[in-house]
């Protein structure tokens, strides 16, 4: 779909999140000079086209006690990576799963999984289970636990000039 200028204005207005009121789309509409029904129609179209992937909350997992956050990587033969990725992604403990371009020789890994857990032991047990269940034994592999988090925010794709809508403008900045 072509994302119009009007859509982009709306996306800009939504970047800081929905205003926390009973009818948030009416408040957004006022800010961008659209009716509530136009806002809803455009957002639904953006969602149906995959521009908006999901509408909901973003949980700050660290604050909720998910202190162990691991990026698990495997160097998988090219012809196997897609089928393995699809299977590994079905495990409920895996929260993100990607194939990425490797950077050999320093970084030969092409299959990435994110696993969050309350502690490292839990996360490593998940790893062992993934290896056993999907036949990943013998493939070059690393687990990178995260240490300090320096920056966490939703990626912003448009200039922030229209962000300041409603009272939520004070929140949500990591």
């Amino acid at each position: 779909m072509d994302v119009s200028e009007r859509d982009r204005r709306l996306i800009g207005a939504l970047q800081a999140g929905l205003p926390l009121v009973r009818r948030p789309y009416a408040v957004i509409g006022e800010a961008v000079d659209m009716s509530e029904s136009e806002v809803l129609r455009r957002i639904a179209a953006l969602r149906d086209a995959g521009v908006i992937r999901r509408f909901g909350v973003i949980v700050r997992h660290h604050e909720l006690g998910y202190r162990a956050n691991a990026m698990m990587v495997w160097a998988v033969p090219e012809h196997q990576v897609d089928s393995l990725g699809e299977r590994v992604a079905e495990s409920p403990q895996v929260t993100l799963c990607y194939r990425r371009r490797p950077a050999p020789p320093q970084w030969p890994y092409n299959l990435y999984c994110m696993v969050h857990g309350r502690d490292r032991e839990t996360v490593l047990a998940v790893r062992d289970e993934l290896v056993a269940r999907h036949g990943l034994e013998g493939m070059e592999h690393r687990v990178l636990f995260s240490g300090r988090r320096f920056k966490q925010r939703g990626a912003r794709y448009l200039a922030p000039k229209q962000e300041a809508i409603g009272r939520e403008a004070n929140h949500g900045r990591a």
Partner: protein, 147 residues
């Protein structure tokens, strides 16, 4: 956080409808008023449990680009280099990780071509190699935490 907060966070992670009153279904399911849902979400955001309530975009469909980049930063320079990297508005998040490649950050840009500029700029300013590991396939998305 009480039991209702937990139920609410779990419920909202499943998403909300694009509708005039998006909080109504969750309110009904949890047998509270919409005002109660809104007030609790507002408090959870203020407390830092929730970082944002709203849409997650597919950057590529907006004409932008996203990548994951990594650097091997000497310990004594780590603080300074992380400040330099984080100062780019295109850097979405940045984690220290346990590996020789010890700094991992996501770069998301509005338009094409800018990723390369940012990574080149970081390399030139720090004198350190910057590894670019763009996504080739996404198998699953939906970060969800059961509370």
């Amino acid at each position: 956080m009480d039991a209702l907060d937990r139920d609410l966070v779990n419920r909202l992670q499943d998403g909300i409808p694009v509708a005039e009153r998006p909080f109504r279904p969750a309110a009904r399911e949890l047998a509270v008023t919409e005002e109660e849902v809104v007030a609790r979400v507002e408090r959870l955001v203020a407390e830092g449990v929730l970082s944002r309530f709203g849409p997650m975009y597919n950057a590529e469909r907006l004409g932008g680009e996203v990548t994951l980049a990594a650097m091997a930063v000497p310990e004594e320079r780590f603080e300074a280099v992380s400040e330099l990297v984080n100062a780019y508005p295109e850097v979405a998040h940045n984690y220290a990780r346990s590996h020789a490649l010890n700094m991992w950050f996501v770069v998301a840009t509005e338009g094409p071509g800018r990723i390369k500029e940012v990574l080149t700029d970081i390399r030139e300013r720090t004198g350190l190699a910057v590894y670019d590991m763009p996504r080739e396939q996404e198998f699953y998305i939906g970060l969800r935490f059961n509370l």
